[in-house]
Symmetry: C2
């Protein structure tokens, strides 16, 4: 197994998706052309197509990468020894929102409306977010509010649901606030 080769391969793929994410944040998932991604990545069209079968695959990979970063942040809190209360959790998550990534995230929402694969990626990620929030809130209810594990689990679910909703709304809000450097089509 050529481990080094695989690692380099993956490195190239992320190099491409990183460049793509920057382009998407400026022009959107659809209106970004492959040419722009080649310019941003410093690679060529041919090279990109050896790593991704077509543009749809690249968009999917980029969407996954964009959403995963949101989950990463939450993961650190979920694993924390002293879990924050729901308000504090929400505040920290909001504080961690990156305007650039928020734009791509909201674009992914729109695309998920129409593309089943992107939708699968998004639904999956949202479920993971909710699950992690629930874990975090559950731990808080047990450790700091003194609830029984059984009752904590029961009460954590609806709270997590609402924290998630407020977080998503804030994501939308952020994506609309940050200025666009791009003229209308």
């Amino acid at each position: 197994m050529p481990r080094l080769t695989d690692a380099r391969k993956e490195l190239r793929r992320t190099q491409i998706t990183e460049a793509a994410l920057r382009c998407f944040s400026r022009k959107g998932l659809e209106r970004t052309s492959i040419a722009e991604i080649t310019a941003e990545s410093g690679l060529s069209a041919g090279s990109i197509y050896t790593h991704y079968r077509n543009k749809a695959e690249l968009v999917q990979a980029s969407a996954h990468a964009a959403l995963a970063k949101h989950a990463e942040l939450l993961g650190t809190y979920a694993a924390s020894q002293s879990p924050p209360d729901p308000d504090e959790l929400l505040a920290r998550l909001i504080d961690g929102i990156d305007p650039v990534k928020s734009r791509v995230a909201v674009q992914v929402w729109g695309e998920a409306t129409v593309d089943p694969i992107i939708r699968g990626v998004l639904v999956d990620m949202i479920d993971r977010l909710r699950s992690m929030m629930q874990t975090c809130i559950e731990a808080w209810l047990v450790k700091l509010e003194g609830l029984e594990p059984a009752e904590a689990r029961e009460r954590a679910a609806p709270i997590a649901q609402r924290v998630l909703a407020l977080y998503l709304a804030e994501l939308l809000h952020t994506s609309l606030q940050s200025p666009t450097e791009q003229a209308a089509s």
Copy 2:
């Protein structure tokens, strides 16, 4: 002033946007071609371009139409004699969500991320929604909770903010639940 002519003109325009909205709901704002809208509307490309300067203008008009319908529903509650409490208000709004329109609405969010004009339309509509929610909640606080108008106004704002957030999140949820009849790009 040829009033009848203007009325017919407006009628044609809505006929076009209605057809466009159905197409958008299936294929998205960008991947819907003018040809598909002509087919859906029963008109021709030439006809459409006499009513809208270009596709961007048509998308803007359609976006406005899609969002306005959400506001209409809320307007009836805001003007109601017996305003519902926040939970009930939210429940009714959610109950009134149309899956087809929810998809277009979320697509508009994504587009607003990139297109300043669409963003203006969206931000405007969101502000109107929040304002109407606030009015509704304010009336409820005064009439049914017996608060002073001054305090009601103060306390209504953050509640409206949260109801709005929960509503938007539910809109996203609905847009992801309804099945897509369209293959990936």
